[in-house]
Symmetry: C2
Subunit: 180 residues, 2 copies
Amino acid sequence: MSTTKVRGTPVTAAGAAATAATAEADLFHALDRIDRAILRQLQTDASISNVALAAKVKLSAPACLRRVERLKESGLIRGVVALIDPKAAGAGMLVIIGVVLDRSMPESFAEFEKAAQKVAGCMECHVVTGEFDYFMTIRTRDSDSFNRLHAEQLLYLPGVRQIRSFMVLKEILSTTKFPL
Amino acid sequence: MSTTKVRGTPVTAAGAAATAATAEADLFHALDRIDRAILRQLQTDASISNVALAAKVKLSAPACLRRVERLKESGLIRGVVALIDPKAAGAGMLVIIGVVLDRSMPESFAEFEKAAQKVAGCMECHVVTGEFDYFMTIRTRDSDSFNRLHAEQLLYLPGVRQIRSFMVLKEILSTTKFPL
DNA sequence: CTTGAAATACTACTACG
DNA sequence: CGTAGTAGTATTTCAAG
């Protein structure tokens, strides 16, 4: 059977699936001071070598490496990625979009979600409470290319009744790092 | 003088500052097929070793490493970070917030922006067009902790006239990767 | 169950063609 | 850009707390 563990608490795959919510909370509370220091560092800069990381958290290299691998296997670290500068990569425009679906066809929600993920440059898509059904954020080259995307794709996503676009004029903060 | 280059095009610091917008566009257009393959891979998984990356893009290891370093120095790669699973890390709740400022005090915008970045769990903060002045996204533990944050901090951010909260019920898509 | 020391295998990095 | 060599790192093994 496939098993994974964090800080000495073994968790079977079946057990994790049965009590997903509490298992995730326990995952977090099982972290000690050193694990959090590791996560804080890797959230800021994961290109650091393992020996340097080990020195920072005052641990030997093998012990440090084992913890990092455990954090990856447990799913707490979803992955290690390079962050690209959007402007430099030719996607300097960001638009936040509020979407209202046609409520008379409830089956269209699944269709919409499937289609929305395939929109080029779609970075986020969330179901929300309030006057909108979904919020999406889309990165695109400029207002021309967004206008094309809007006219050719967004308006024709399945089940869409209304779309409101909020163009981002200035990005104050955009981070992947949250407090531990 | 400090200089950096991408694909053979030298760019002085002064020149880059003077023509920032076009320089960034050129940065992107100077990328060849191999650079884009490297970026696509590193956006998906940057924990790959350099030799494995080199094999994927059909290049020798040193040549591949030189390109990666050039992409970092040019600023196109802003950094390499570990992505943490928010639910597993005890921040399973996501709220999108639309903020309207008091327009009678235009100097409060700078104050608001400075304060907003310090809000615990604030992941994004953007100036937008439309009925709101700012959109923020905030990660927090649960509705209780968000309610506390809302009552104790958000309402008292400098210059705030109105705040509308959109609670995220389901995260359909959340990525840091965009098409190249 | 976790840690740290030593040994091995692999990788990053440099110099050169 | 590639080849070859060196330095440093990751990774395994093992003994000890």
